[in-house]
Symmetry: C2
Subunit: 115 residues, 2 copies
DNA sequence: TAGCAGTATTCATTTTAAAACATACTGAAA
DNA sequence: TTTCAGTATGTTTTAAAATGAATACTGCTA
């Protein structure tokens, strides 16, 4: 009798540089929410994440990328905000492309898993 | 001028079934250490992991696999021990095979990363 | 020049996860 | 029938991480 339990492969990927993990899906989501909302504050709310943490993630990304991914607008009308740089837009796109290729490949490996 | 920062892709994968994550590299290491040492206790020591946790992982694996991956020997000479079943051996092998194929693929994607 | 809303940062608090501790159970062998 | 080392399990402690609160700063606009 053929056993019926279903198993499949999940994959998580991230970009690493010399100092360690640099950019994973969590930071990508944050970038996308900053693009969508125009500020770190609102992006954090959207994600039910503490502003403090969101701000730290942005700081880290900007420091470790060759050029900043997020541009911060301090003060002024509306208090300021944040928006993606060209490099930030590119990062989102590159990450999703690579992620898709790897996940598609992984899915093909899901055949015949048995435990 | 060509910028020189080096980025590369890291991949983590695991097997999922209906109730969630089932088997990742951590449990595979545990299985390998059980095979090597002949008991959950010694495997845990080897990995500097609490026996309690190692035992829980084994319990979970056994419950959620179609057939147990680890056979427990209770009491008797030496107090007992634990060893891999045929399914346990197979699980290690399958996982490593799939992992290698996916990581090899991912490595090819590492070209041209720029952030 | 006062108001405003978001960024920047520190500090205390809470939540969560991991580890440590303690103790009962098992069964072969001496 | 006592010893022994490993399994089995609940309880307590500790450590780490996330969150929340508080405060200063920024610079456009009214």
């Amino acid at each position: 009798m053929m056993s019926n339990k279903k198993y499949n492969i999940e994959v998580r990927l991230w970009i690493e540089e010399t100092e360690g993990p640099f950019l994973g899906i969590g930071k990508i989501w944050l970038l996308e929410n900053i693009r969508k909302t125009g500020s770190i504050t609102n992006a954090a709310k959207e994600m039910k994440m503490a502003y403090r943490q969101a701000w730290q993630l942005v700081k880290e990304m900007n420091q470790r990328a060759e050029s900043p991914l997020v541009e911060k607008l301090l003060g002024g009308k509306g208090g300021g905000g944040a928006r993606l740089t060209e490099a930030g837009e590119k990062a989102i796109q590159t990450f999703h492309e690579v992620e898709k290729r790897i996940k598609d490949f992984a899915e093909k490996e899901t055949q015949n898993l048995k435990f």
